[in-house]
Symmetry: C2
Subunit: 394 residues, 2 copies
Amino acid sequence: MTGTLPGPTVGVIGGGQLGRMLGEAATPLGMDLLVVDPTPDAPASPVAREQLVADFDDREALHELAERVDYLTYEIELAGTDVLEAVSEETGTPVHPHPDTLRTIEDKLVQKRRLSDAGVPVPSFRGVESVDELRAALGELGYPAMLKARMGGYDGRGNVPIESPADVERAFETIVEAAPGASAESPSGAAMVEALVDFERELAVMGVRGDDERDTFPVTETIHREEILRETISPARTDPGVRERAREVALDVLDVMDGRGVFGIELFETADGDVLLNEIAPRPHNSGHWTIEGSLTSQFEQHLRAVAGWPLGGTDRRSPTVTANILGDVERRQTATLRNVNRVLEADGASLHYYGKQEVHRLRKMGHVTALGDSDPTALLDRIREIRDALTFR
Amino acid sequence: MTGTLPGPTVGVIGGGQLGRMLGEAATPLGMDLLVVDPTPDAPASPVAREQLVADFDDREALHELAERVDYLTYEIELAGTDVLEAVSEETGTPVHPHPDTLRTIEDKLVQKRRLSDAGVPVPSFRGVESVDELRAALGELGYPAMLKARMGGYDGRGNVPIESPADVERAFETIVEAAPGASAESPSGAAMVEALVDFERELAVMGVRGDDERDTFPVTETIHREEILRETISPARTDPGVRERAREVALDVLDVMDGRGVFGIELFETADGDVLLNEIAPRPHNSGHWTIEGSLTSQFEQHLRAVAGWPLGGTDRRSPTVTANILGDVERRQTATLRNVNRVLEADGASLHYYGKQEVHRLRKMGHVTALGDSDPTALLDRIREIRDALTFR
């Protein structure tokens, strides 16, 4: 038996809602959090020991952060792997998950190749460096397909669907314009194209790599619209066999990763009951927010345990749990005031999670609501939607 | 439907473990916390927007606090009711629970008289102002009895058992010496004596007064040793009829109180199945820590909802839940390092709550551990004791 308290100080790059929920999970464990975020008074700020106000890739700030903490982690993938690696080497402070993992994941083409090589089932894909290459790839993959920026995509940004040959040129231009370091003249390495999976439903598994152990949380169903996560349902409304396959795929994904931490693993379930990998996030993920109330250990506590090399917590689900995101429903960026909050507060078994962002814009993630119950997941989902739909920033 | 976010800023007098757990509950609700505590870097400090370092009754600091927040509350009863009332009047910031309630509760004799007058069953008691009065009272109440300082008792401090006539003089001196403002020459208002209840078990009910509503959490069994709470068991291992009586007594107690907030209501269950009131705390209470994992709403979230005048949350128990306090097991005051923490971290369904106090002394409350399960409460209790007993500051 080892392990002492007070626990370590953890430095988090990013102070958004994920950093905030990490902070809420840190103090019960006797851990302290420091965060770096460019927005003063970021969501994580009230629950962090201190916020350093600096850009995510500000090498000086990250160096200072690393010197003041025992472990570094990130809740946003924008630090840049080279900076992370350099800062870690200079200070001797470990980064989890390992920058190599981030390097693999942040380039969607490299990610898919690594995973495909390791036997993880993925949709058919091709790297494309020109409109001609894209046309040729589509000749093999067929229409419709999804063109993706290799780097920097987030919440659907950087993904452009291609329905027919008429869309090809426009789609390629859109991705190249949005790609960091690429341009129409020099589009090198900017894009990949993927067969659009005709999925039955989307699933997500929060996986975790600890010190010499790995585990998964129960398989969750995710519902997206406009490529933004809207609701999650746990357990996923699918066959036990599909859930078991999803878990196996997630464990195979974890084997490809390096370093410790939780990973959000997004999956497609096809009409035939096959499971294909969609995307991976090397951090706590929106699809795992239900674990705060729904699981024996939350994904945030689990991430902190993993990063610190502590034993992992139990991942069993306590009861059927659904979540619904509270998204910006305004047309323009404005100061955020959420109305009709009593609708959530009066609902028995509903839990509010507000992220404290000062400004709202269209589809911005501003909070989420969780509902627990013994009833069937579909009834719970109807209930949480009704509650969430009453909320408005207008 | 009303209610808007961001939520109010709440000022908390006291930044100990109760303030810390209030802070952990505040951010998901979109509330901000400011705390006043004389110990720099108090337990609540990392989860509060700011800590004002000042004494609990520092009128200037409390005035500043009141000016900066929407509501005032307290997690320790040491502000002094006059100061609270004055600051509230000067600034227009409401205090919950109302200072009148604190005034009633902080003097144990006044408390017992008010409750007794309202029909709440209490053990026989007498106010005593001299050794002679104490002897006379004991002639009526019989031995053994408990002599209590009317003011300032906490965690068993200020309570002296009297086994036989030989103890009387010594007991009275002890209480008078410890009593604020009293002395052997002028013991006025210092003490009360109470018949020692031959209880079957101790129970506790967290009650809550909201804006126009009141409620109770499920009845919990508490186990004390040396007058310090050691473990809680929910549901209490007693008859449903006794639990129902305990709930009724708690509701009657709430009716005597004024203002909003949660109240820790400690009760005795006698061998005959009667329920008598022991003591009341006008704030979240150690006997309610189990609600963090065990109830639909935690006592800390409930207190914040009540103080802000928001709708109260559901109080149903999610599953059998036990807690065990982590107490200082050292002889002298020293820097706190808790060992064998992996024993908690490796236990499935066990949750750690560390309070982050820098120093430990004998029997100081340093944290608690919660365990959830489907098994019977006694088996859960055995399990949590085994886990907790492995922890040591030595």
